[in-house]
């Protein structure tokens, strides 16, 4: 039976309606989130689902029978151009089209359409699927903004940031890392950095710059992701200056700033340990109090600069005469202390006597050299430490002080006689 084109269209409409009803296709279409328009071959809306009517901002009854390009308005000729393509290729997929709804909402969409044929030579209709991608685009923009912000933060960060892949290779280095390590980013990328031993905790490491300079960095590695692969984000904070200051402070807190000998605090600490250890080792320990005579007179008549010189000279004599293993300190003013340790097997008394002789000799020698305005004189008091009686360092310092004063007095008596 031969039928006309009009009859065929009518048949298709009837068939489509019947199928929609019979298979519950209408219900299925209505549950879909994407908008579906069923069009006649000339682009008139025959049926649309609920999402489609919401997209177009109109009731379905206002839209059925309307040409699709009146329902979904876009730049001129979009439908003519799309139709040509649809008819030529049979379908188009995910074209980005900005539609304007009846309420003049601008809706970014992905537009797909396919031709439905009954026979090879006859088009029954066109099914269009329109996906509202407003939310995707919003998220994409937000993601891009967040990515841009992340990039900006990483780029401007004062901390060096490098990303290391699972093989320990550097995938990324920010400008601060490039600066910190003294290598350019091309040299950094692909470099075998290795694996930080400790993750999620800070650790101090020495950093080796390309020119061989060594700095100190606080390194912290955290698990991260780089292009979908597990990676480590390693941040390096330059703490070279802080560490240098810390070490200086540490040293200052242990040292007498003028002479570089131990200060009172560190001497007490170390002497206490030494005396405690002597109970175990059997070593003989002696406390020697050394006082620089006439210090006040030197300061008053020759000035503090010469006074400092006299203290430095005394420290230099002590360094020369005592062993490196002995503890030497300036307690303050013109008072010095030495803690001398002799092994159990040594003749401690002999050694201490020798030390006193050497001190006397060294002072004599220096005084015999011309070139300074004062005469150096030291008063010395020695006490042997017996940890079985006392372990209190202060007690022995006091005893050595008394012995020193006695020596000073004797010296004065000798001089006055």
């Amino acid at each position: 039976m031969r039928i006309s084109a009009e009859q065929m269209d009518e048949l298709v409409h009837t068939l489509a309606s019947t199928m929609l009803e019979r298979d519950g296709l209408r219900n299925i279409l209505d549950t879909m989130l994407n908008s579906v328009f069923i069009l006649s071959p000339d682009g008139v809306v025959i049926h649309l689902n609920r999402a489609a009517s919401q997209l177009a901002d109109a009731h379905p009854s206002e839209l059925v029978g309307e040409p699709i390009h009146h329902v979904l308005r876009a730049e001129s000729c979009w439908w003519e151009l799309s139709l040509t393509e649809i008819l030529h290729q049979g379908a188009i997929r995910n074209r980005e089209v900005y539609f304007k709804s009846r309420m003049n909402r601008h809706i970014p969409t992905l537009f797909s359409a396919s031709v439905q044929r009954i026979r090879d030579d006859h088009i029954a209709g066109i099914i269009c699927c329109v996906q509202d991608v407003s939310e995707h685009i919003r998220l994409r923009e937000a993601l891009k903004n967040s990515h841009d912000s992340f990039q900006a933060i990483v780029h401007k960060s004062v901390d060096g940031i490098i990303i290391v892949d699972q093989d320990g290779m550097v995938c990324f280095a920010n400008p601060a890392a490039v600066f910190l390590l003294g290598r350019n980013s091309q040299e950094m990328i692909g470099m075998h950095f290795g694996h930080p031993l400790i993750v999620d905790e800070s650790t101090e490491v020495d950093i080796i710059r390309k020119n061989g300079d060594v700095g100190v960095a606080e390194m912290r590695a955290v698990a991260s992701n780089w292009h979908g692969q597990n990676a480590l984000l390693v941040s390096l904070r330059d703490v070279t200056e802080n560490v240098r200051l810390r070490e200086q402070l540490q040293q200052l807190s242990m040292e007498d700033p003028l002479t570089g000998l131990h200060n009172r605090r560190s001497f007490m600490l170390l002497a206490e340990q030494e005396v405690k250890a002597s109970t175990r080792t059997g070593n003989h320990v002696a406390m020697i109090f050394i006082d620089l005579d006439g210090m006040k007179a030197i300061n008053d008549t020759l000035g503090h600069k010469v006074g400092d010189h006299a203290l430095l000279e005394t420290a230099s004599i002590l360094r020369k005469v005592f062993r490196k293993s002995d503890l030497l300190s300036r307690q303050g003013g013109d008072e010095f202390l030495a803690l001398v340790t002799n092994k159990e097997t040594d003749d401690a008394e002999l050694h201490n006597t020798q030390v006193l002789h050497r001190l006397e000799h060294e002072v004599f020698y220096r005084n015999s050299q011309s070139g300074r305005l004062y005469t150096l004189s030291l008063s010395i008091g020695v006490v042997l430490i017996d940890p079985s009686l006392h372990t209190d360092i202060e007690y022995y310092i006091q005893q050595a002080d008394i012995a020193m004063y006695q020596a000073k007095k004797n010296k004065r008596m000798c001089r006055s006689q």
């Binding site: 950095f193 290795g194 031993l197 400790i198 020495d206 060594v214």
Partner: protein, 106 residues
């Protein structure tokens, strides 16, 4: 302590385990790392290890050649592929795991 500028070539390594520790100077930190490595090897790899210590202050050119950015860095050269770990190796458990000593020895 072995500070070895004339490094053996790959073929000259005779032990199953070859460790190379990079340090910067004879600082207390470096000395602690060296002592820790010896302790670890003696305990877990007795008789089958070789240790190389490279002081990068003495041989700075080796930092560039061996891609050393931070120290202490410990490189396991043998067995298996090269494995480089960075940081304080005083934590024996972590170091063993990072060097995969458990997996290889036992």
């Amino acid at each position: 302590m072995l500070i070895n500028p004339d490094r053996p070539k790959e073929a000259e390594y005779t032990s199953n385990w070859v460790m190379c520790l990079y340090v910067a100077g004879q600082t207390p930190k470096s000395l602690a790392a060296i002592a820790n490595l010896h302790r670890l090897c003696n305990k877990y790899l007795a008789g089958q290890f070789q240790i190389e210590i490279i002081d990068l202050l003495e041989y700075p050119e080796l930092a560039e050649g061996d891609n050393i950015i931070a120290v202490p860095t410990l490189v396991r050269k043998r067995p298996g592929s090269v494995r480089k770990i960075i940081g304080n190796i005083s934590d024996i458990e972590r170091t063993l795991a990072a060097l995969q000593i458990d997996a290889i020895v036992y």
